[in-house]
Structure formats: C-alpha cells, structure tokens
Symmetry: none
Subunit: 194 residues, 4 copies
DNA sequence: TATGAATGAGGTTTCATTCAT
DNA sequence: CATGAATGAAACCTCATTCAT
C-alpha cells in the first residue's frame, strides 16, 4: 500500500500510544492498552512498530521533535528577544501544549527523562532535541553579552543549559507540584534575569 | 523482634532497592532483582514492605528527604546567602551526591518524577520535600527583595520555583545530556542572576 | 486460468516450501518464510494450497514420490540385482539426492517421519511410498530365496522392511551423526548380507 | 529446598513433557499443554527449565540415555552375542519400551531426529547416545570378524552403523507403517545376516 | 521470624489465515 | 487472479505476591 497509508497508520498508533504512555509511563503501560486505544489489532500494531521499545523511541522522538519545531516557529516570528523573553515564550508554549488536547503531552517528556536514563536511544533523542533548544538559547545569550547585559566572560553554553533548566523545571513542577502559575513564573524569571 | 532489628532490615532492603531502582527505574526493575540484591528472601522483603509500591514510596521518601536534610544542614552553616549562592550550594550538593557512592542516587530523583505522575503517594512526597526547598529559596529571595535587589512586587514563591528549576534542571541535564559542568553552570547562573 | 498456470504456481510454491521446511522442519517454519521464499503473496499461496497442512502434505507427497520414482527408474535399468546391490543402489541414490541441489532434500524425509506421527495424511503418503519400495525389495528377496541364498521359510515382507531400514537408517545417520560414508556403508552392508 | 525435591519436580515435569511431546512433536506442542499435564503452574515449570528449548534438550537426553542404559544392562547380562542376536535384543527392547507405559516413548526418538536437524544441542545428544550403541555393535562385529564370519577387511564402524539402521528403521517403521512384527523382523534379520 | 517454592494473571510478540481492494 | 494489510487467538515467558514449612 501507499506510503500515505503507512504514515496514517503510524500516526494512529502513535496518537494512541502517546495518550496511554502519558497517563502511566512507558513501562507501566501494557501493549494491550496501546493496542486497544489504537483501534487496531495486535498484529497490525506490530506491523508498524517492531517492538514496544521501537514504539517508545518513536513516541519520544515525535513528541520532543514537535515541541522543538513548535518552539522554532514561535521564536522565528519573534526576533531579537531578550533571555527573559525567550524563556517566557518557551514557558508559555509548555503551558499551551499541556492544556491543549485530551492528554497533557508534557507528562510524556517527564517519562522520557526517566526512560532516557535506561534506554540510550531515548537519551540520544533527548540530547538532539534539547541540544537544539540550548543552541537557540545560546544565541539569545550571545546577543545579551554583545549588548553588555552580561559580562564578556559569560559562558554562553552553560547559561543556555540554565535557561533550559528554567523551562524544563517549570514543566516538571507544573505537573508534579501543581501549584505553578505560568504568568507568575514568567514574571519572576524576568525579574530574576533583571 | 526489636525495633532496631526492624530498622536495620528496612535499611538493608532500601539500600539494595535504591541501587536497583536507580539503574533501571521503578517499573523496569523486578522485585526479584531487589530481593537478590538485598541478600534476603522474598518473604523477608515482603515482611518489611507490603508491596512494591510501598517500597517505591519508602525509597523516594528516604532519598528526597535525605537530600533536603543534607541541603538544610549545608545552608544552616552558611547564613545570609544570596540567591545565586544558594542555588550554587544546591548545585554543588547535587554533584557531590551524584558522584559519591557506587550508584548515582540523583537518577532516582528523575525516576521519582515520572513515578510521581502516576502514583499520588510519590507525588505527595515530592511536593513535601521540594516544597521545603522552595520555602528556603523563598526566604533567600525575600532577603533579596528587602535588600532592594529585586522589586518589591517580586513574587517570591514563583521565584523560588524558578530557582528550584535551576537545580532540578541541572541534575536532569547532568544525567541525560552528560555535558554540564557544575562550576561553569554555577558561574553562569551567578552571572544571570547578577 | 489454465491448468498449466496452476501447475506452474504450485511448483513454484512447493519449491520454496521444500527449501524452507527442509531447513527448519514443518512446524518451526512459518508460512511467512514460505511465502517470502516463493516470491508470491500470501493470498496467492493460499489460493493454491488451502492451509499449511495441505502444503505439508503436498510437499511430503512430492518429495517421497519423486524419490520412489527415481529409485524405480534406476532399478528398472539394472535388472536381477542381489539384495546387497539393491540396497547399495538405494544408498547411492540417497547420497546423490542429498548432495544435489541447494538444500538437502533428505532432511525433509526425516521431518516427514515426525510429521507422519501426528498427521495421518502424511503417514498415509509415507505408507504408500515406502510400501512400494518394500514391494520392490520383497521381489529382490524372493529371487534370493528362489536362488537358495535364503531359506524357503524366509519372511520376504519382514526382510524387505529390514532392507528399507538399512536405507532409511543410512539417510538418518548421514544427517544426524554426520560420519557415515556411502561407500564404506555399502561395502559393510554387502559383507553383512554375504 | 533439597536436591531430592528438585529432582522430583524435574522428573514430574519431564514425565508430563515426555507424554505431550511424544503425542504431537516438540514444535507442535505448546508449553501450556506441558504445564497442564505436569500439574504445576507455568511459573513452577519455568523455575526448573529455563526455556522450552532447555526442556526439549533434557527430554531428548533423558529418553535416549535411558534407552542406551537399558540396552547396556540387557547386553551386559547376555555375553558373546552374535550380530543377529545383538540386533534382535535391541529390536526386542524397542518393542518392549514402545508397548510399556501410557505413551509410546519411541515416538519421541523419531521427533528427536527431526529436532536434531535444527537444534545442535539435540543433535549432540543423539550423536553421543547413538555413538555408544554403535560402539557396542562394533565390538560384536569385531568378534564376528575374529571368528571368521566376516572378512578381515570388514569395516566394523560402517557395519555398526548398518546394524543401528536396522534397529532405528524398525522403530520408525513400527510407528509409521504400523505393520512390522517384532518376531518376524528379528527372524528375517537373523536370516539376512546368516 | 525466615524461607523460597509456588502461583497464575498478565507481559510482549508471532502466527496461520482472510478479504477488501 | 493477485495483493498484502489486517486479524486475534495463542505462543512463550515473567512477575509481584503468598504461604506451608
């Protein structure tokens, strides 16, 4: 059959798996749940993904990649942001993604972190995608150095990691602590970064 | 038997479980592995922990609690820290803990985050412990507001969440990305916070 | 379509199945392997053989029948053989068949024996074909009795079974033990039968 | 628990598996059938045999080994047999074993031959046990050579293989053809070997 | 109190076969 | 006539947990 069909089926399965894995994590979710949620048969699911691990990797890749692409798009439309603004945009995006759709996809990211500690393929995906986000933050920080807002000795790469922390930490605390408000968080970050 | 004995056995089991869970995560680690690592029998382990979930909860509680206590102690000895210094101390503590001992306990924290999304008891532990850390950061920030380094409108609670993000994000990126250096990270955070 | 076409397709499938089944046995070989080896689609294979069992039966029938026909031809050209010579010719034929072609078809015979124990249709094929071979051996032995080389009380049918054993046992030991030489075996059999 | 217990359980499982595999062959028999026949749970069976393959190997080993030991004992009590007598004894033993017990164990031997073609461990067992039987037949034949009943040029190893063929071929035809009588077969073999 | 053998439901994956296109 | 995607029962095996000793 056509490649379109293949993509459609993979998407159908990934959508189902995304919801299932987001709810319970990768290891605690059985393939039976994914299969039932997909509306397909076990055989059909295994035609498109050779194993649960392959499915997990595809899910992580898709979710993280989509978020990064999303961030790229938003940032491309908003030029010359300050560090505080860039982080704020990312925080806003996390919030929007979390609240859109039937399941909160940001839960998957947290699950992916744990999975990445035991599955090198998942770790590689995280490194690639988060690396790209850090590269963007690094560019923003470089401009801040050039503008004299940060010392010339400033380590842009380490700073980018710190900004990424602020974003990932927001996503985590939003889910785990449940008491973080996007607007307050953004405002506080802006104040902290001057 | 005596309560001492009971505590000794629980510690023995928790130590074994800590190493096993840190390596592979909670769900992917079998009780058989924990039991073998503990040097006890299945029956003995189940005498002290009624279920795997109870064991997980105890592990998470102990690990997070120990870290918070550790942080308390260090901070109690270093009065009147700035926000940057407080975060720096926490980052340093994460690094020390990670590099001490045969297994990197910070891996457990990341696994606990994922587990907390599906297990309310684990989430409660995280909320309690991370809440305490945030309370400390809030106190630090309050001093910064009083000193005029931050506007009087500054939301200390949200700011404390952001500082916690910087610490947790460091622990995460250290494990998952593998390219974050504690000293550079601390320096960059100090520069970013002025 | 024409009957020729049908025969061509069946042969194409049987050739593929023969190789696959010879390698791994009937039960351990999946239809997927047969289908892939045949170069046809699953649907096509099932158009010509209603089930795996039917395919197995057809394979066994073809292979055993071909061997028996082959033996008939060779024996028809060599009249008035002694028992030792007849067995020797059969042993030679087994060796030639085993060593000709990309896969050793004699492996299929051994697999067919096991299959015959659970599949009456396969057993029936074996009974028919091996029965024919025994009939031929019986004729040879009858001549030996008439020539006075064997007592008149000699049970020709049982003797034929024994001679068949010598041939089948050769095929088996050649495959399973791997240390039987056709020439030595023939010579030893000739000596044993005087 | 004690080693006795372990042996008892293994025997219990092997007995059940023996019956199940004899009926349907190794590949066509599901572990569920073996487990049900054993009266144990799945987990218990897998405590004593790590995999189906390991169980198959243990079954083949036990069955072939028991037959060889049995043959050794019978032959040890009957010294100075002729080749015809030795084969006769073996044929008799095959018949007795086949007819004793609730399932015909000789079926397992035929299944083991097919399995040996795809499973090297099974082939190794067959080589070892049948090799021992051939060694015994070789000793018998050596005596026949020394007694002048066979030429001094006689290849005892090849001759032993031929005698083994007569025994294995009897077992096979008894099962597959169903029309071989032990007494007639033995008499015919005796006549053929003079 | 401690053991570890036993449980059996549930895990992931494969398989012969069908049928809409 | 031919395709190959889809089926879903069944395959092998693991697992958290229990309980007789």
């Amino acid at each position: 059959m056509t490649d379109d069909h293949r993509q459609a089926r993979r998407t159908q399965i990934l959508d189902a798996a995304q919801a299932a894995f987001a709810a319970e994590g990768f290891q605690a979710t059985g393939m039976a749940e994914v299969i039932a949620a997909s509306g397909l048969s076990a055989g059909a699911v295994y035609r498109y993904f050779a194993s649960k691990d392959e499915l997990i990797e595809a899910i992580v890749d898709r979710v993280l990649e989509q978020r990064a692409v999303h961030l790229d798009e938003v940032l491309a439309s908003r030029r010359e942001l300050s560090a505080a603004e860039a982080v704020g945009v990312a925080v806003e995006l996390v919030t929007e993604v979390a609240e859109s759709g039937p399941v909160d996809i940001t839960r998957l990211a947290v699950q992916a972190w744990g999975e990445g500690l035991r599955n090198p393929a998942v770790a590689a995906v995280a490194q690639r995608v988060y690396g790209r986000v850090r590269t963007y933050f690094a560019a923003v920080l470089r401009r801040e150095v050039e503008a004299g807002h940060l010392p010339s000795s400033f380590d842009v790469a380490a700073g980018a990691a710190a900004l990424l922390s602020v974003v990932l930490g927001y996503a985590l605390q939003r889910l785990l602590m449940g008491d973080v408000d996007a607007a307050s968080y953004r405002a506080a970050v802006a104040d902290l970064l001057r």
